[in-house]
Symmetry: C2
Subunit: 325 residues, 2 copies
DNA sequence: ATGAAAGCGCTAACAA
DNA sequence: TTGTTAGCGCTTTCAT
C-alpha cells in the first residue's frame, strides 16, 4: 500500500480506502480508484492477511469441531464447510473431538486466542455448560447435527423426525407390521427426535412397536447384544430400524449371528448412508443425510453471525432422503 | 505485557523475554523471571497470537491438503496430523482437493498469503510443476502418500512395495498360484511400487502373474470391467490383489457379478483397510496402513523444516500390516 | 475527496 | 541484567 501510494502521489490512507472497497463511503474520485486498482494489479498487490487480522482483531478463519472425522458423515460436513468457507475467503480449522469434552475445551481456546472468529460444533456429552458459557461471552457459534437443550444458538441438522418417518413408511410399504426401534439414550435430543418420528408414523397406522431398544451406550457392540436378544425372543418376521450408523453396524452383526434371512425374515433400515452398501452381506435401506449442505449452511450462518454481530438461534432442518435397497 | 511491566516496574521487553522463554539467553535474573511468571499467571495473561504472528511473519498454522476427506484413509491422516499439530501449538487448516489441481493452487495461495507456515500435500495429477515452484520459493513442504518424481521434498508414506509383498505372500500361503494384479497407471509412483512388490514376491517363488491389469483410470467402474473380463476368460481358481480401496470395491463387484465363490474359487486381498469388512458379502483380507502415524510424522517433519529452515528430502516409509480375513 | 497520525501487541537490534 | 526504540502493515479517527 505504501508503494502504491508513493508511486501515485497519494496517501496510504486513500489507497487503503480503495483497496478495501470503501471508496464509496469516502467518496474517492473514480479516477483515483481506477489508478489505484490498476497499479495494485500491476504490482501484484496482495493484502497482508496477518496485518489485517491483527489490526481488526479477526483472523478470517473459523473452526469446525466434529465428533469423528473417520465417520463419512462428519467428513462430508467438513468438505461442505470448507468449500463454503473458502468461497468467503475464510480458512477452516478442523478439529476432531473424538467425543472428548477436553478436546472441545481446546477448540474453545482457539477462539479465545483469536485464532478463529467463530466455531461450528457438534456438542459432545458434558460440553453443555462450556458451550453455554462461550455463547454468553459472545462467541459466534453454530451447532451442527445436535443442539444443546435450551441454548439459544443456531443449529443446522437433518430433520431427524422426518427421517424416521421415511424409514418406517418404507418398512410398512413392504408389508411389515412388526417394527423394532434401535436407538440411543433419550437425554440426547437426536435420539428423542428419531424415536418420536418412529412412534408417530407407527401410530398413524395404528400399530404398536414390536420393541424399542433404548441403549445407554449407542455403540455397535451394545446394539449387537440388544438386537441379538430380540432376535432370539421373537421368531416371527421382523423389521428393524437402527437410528444411526454405529447402531446399524451392530444390528447387522446380530442378524448375521442369528442367521436370519434378509429381507424375507428380517428387514433393516438404518439412519446414515453406508459406503459400498451394495457389497454388504445384506441389503440395507438407508436414510441419507445431505451432509455437504449441512456443512455449507453452518458456515453461512456462522459468517453471518460474525459479520452482523447478531446471534441467531435459528434451527435449520434439512430434509433426509431414503435410499431403498 | 505492558500491564505486567508497569506493575512490576520493568520494561515490556524484559517481560517479553521472560514470557517467551528467552530469559536464559538474556540472562534475566531468576527473581525477575519468577515475579513475571507469577503476575502473568495471576492476571491470566495469554499471548496475542495474532500480534505475534504478524510481527514474526508466521501464522503458527499449517495446511493439510488431502485428496478426498471422505476416504477413511485421508480422514485418518487428518486426525493424526491434527493431534500432532495441536501438541506443538499449531492449528491445522484442512483442505479437500478432490483431485483438482485448481484447488491445490488455492491451498498454495494460503501459504503465499502467510495464513499458514507450511503445507502437507498429497500431489494430485497435474500439480507437479506448481509444487516444484513452491518448493523453489522456499515453502516448507511435506508430501504424504505420494511423491512427485525427482522433487527433493520429504515424503511420508507406507512402504507400498512391502505391502504388496505381504499381500502376495498371504495368497501364496493359502495355496494360491494364479495371482492377478489390479492396479492404476504406472506414471503414478504409488502404482509402480505396488506392482514392483507384487512382481518381486511372485518371482521369489518362481511364479508368473496370471494377469496384470494396469488401468488408466483407477476407479471402481474400470476395475469392475477389467476384472469381469478376466473372470470370464479364466475359469480356474484365482487370487486377486487390488492395489487400493477403489479398485478393491470394483473387484468385489466384478466377483459378485460373476457369481464366483469366495474364498474357494477366487480370493481377494486389497490395499487399504475397509470399515465393517466383516459385514461384506465376501471376506477380504486387507493391507492396512498406519494412517494416523503418517499424519503425525508428516507434521513433525514439516514443523522441523519450518523451525530449522532446513529442507529435508527424507522419505519416511511406514510398515503396512496385513489383516487376514 | 484526500491526508496525517496514532496505534493494534509484539519482537529484536542495540544501548547501557 | 535490563531498558530504549523502532517498526511489522494495516485501519481508523479526525482534519482539511
Amino acid at each position: 500500500m505504501k508503494d502504491i501510494a508513493e508511486h501515485l502521489g497519494l496517501s496510504q490512507t486513500t489507497v487503503s480506502h480503495v483497496l478495501t472497497g470503501k471508496h464509496r463511503k469516502f467518496r474517492i474520485s473514480p479516477a483515483t480508484v481506477e489508478r489505484v486498482w490498476r497499479l495494485a494489479e500491476k504490482l501484484g498487490y496482495r493484502a497482508n492477511v496477518m496485518a489485517r487480522a491483527f489490526r481488526e482483531r479477526r483472523s478470517y478463519a473459523v473452526c469446525l469441531a466434529v465428533e469423528d472425522l473417520q465417520n463419512p458423515f462428519w467428513a462430508g460436513i467438513a468438505i461442505g464447510a470448507e468449500r463454503e468457507a473458502e468461497e468467503h475467503g475464510y480458512a477452516l480449522v478442523v478439529t476432531d473431538l473424538g467425543g472428548s469434552a477436553e478436546r472441545l475445551r481446546r477448540a474453545l481456546q482457539l477462539v479465545r486466542d483469536q485464532r478463529v472468529d467463530g466455531l461450528i460444533v457438534s456438542p459432545v456429552r458434558g460440553s453443555d455448560a462450556e458451550l453455554a458459557a462461550a455463547h454468553r461471552h459472545g462467541l459466534p457459534l453454530v451447532q451442527v447435527d445436535r443442539a444443546v437443550a435450551r441454548l439459544p444458538v443456531a443449529c443446522v441438522r437433518t430433520d431427524h423426525e422426518a427421517g424416521s418417518v421415511l424409514a418406517v413408511r418404507h418398512l410398512l410399504t413392504r408389508g411389515r407390521r412388526d417394527v423394532v426401534y434401535v436407538g440411543g439414550p433419550l437425554d440426547i435430543p437426536n435420539y428423542r427426535q428419531r424415536l418420536a418420528g418412529f412412534r408417530k408414523e407407527l401410530r398413524r397406522h395404528r400399530l404398536q412397536p414390536a420393541a424399542e431398544l433404548i441403549l445407554d451406550d449407542p455403540s455397535p457392540a451394545e446394539a449387537e447384544r440388544a438386537v441379538a436378544r430380540v432376535l432370539r425372543d421373537v421368531q416371527r418376521p421382523l423389521a428393524l430400524f437402527a437410528a444411526n450408523y454405529a447402531l446399524t453396524v451392530g444390528t447387522l452383526r446380530a442378524i448375521r449371528a442369528a442367521s436370519r434371512a434378509v429381507p424375507d425374515d428380517v428387514e433393516l433400515v438404518g439412519f446414515d448412508d453406508i459406503q459400498m452398501a451394495d457389497l454388504l452381506l445384506y441389503p440395507v435401506t438407508t436414510v441419507d443425510q445431505d451432509v455437504s449442505s449441512i456443512g455449507r449452511e453452518a458456515v453461512r450462518l456462522l459468517l453471518d453471525a460474525i459479520r452482523t454481530g447478531r446471534r441467531s438461534a435459528q434451527h435449520v432442518l434439512l430434509p433426509p432422503r431414503l435410499i431403498p435397497r
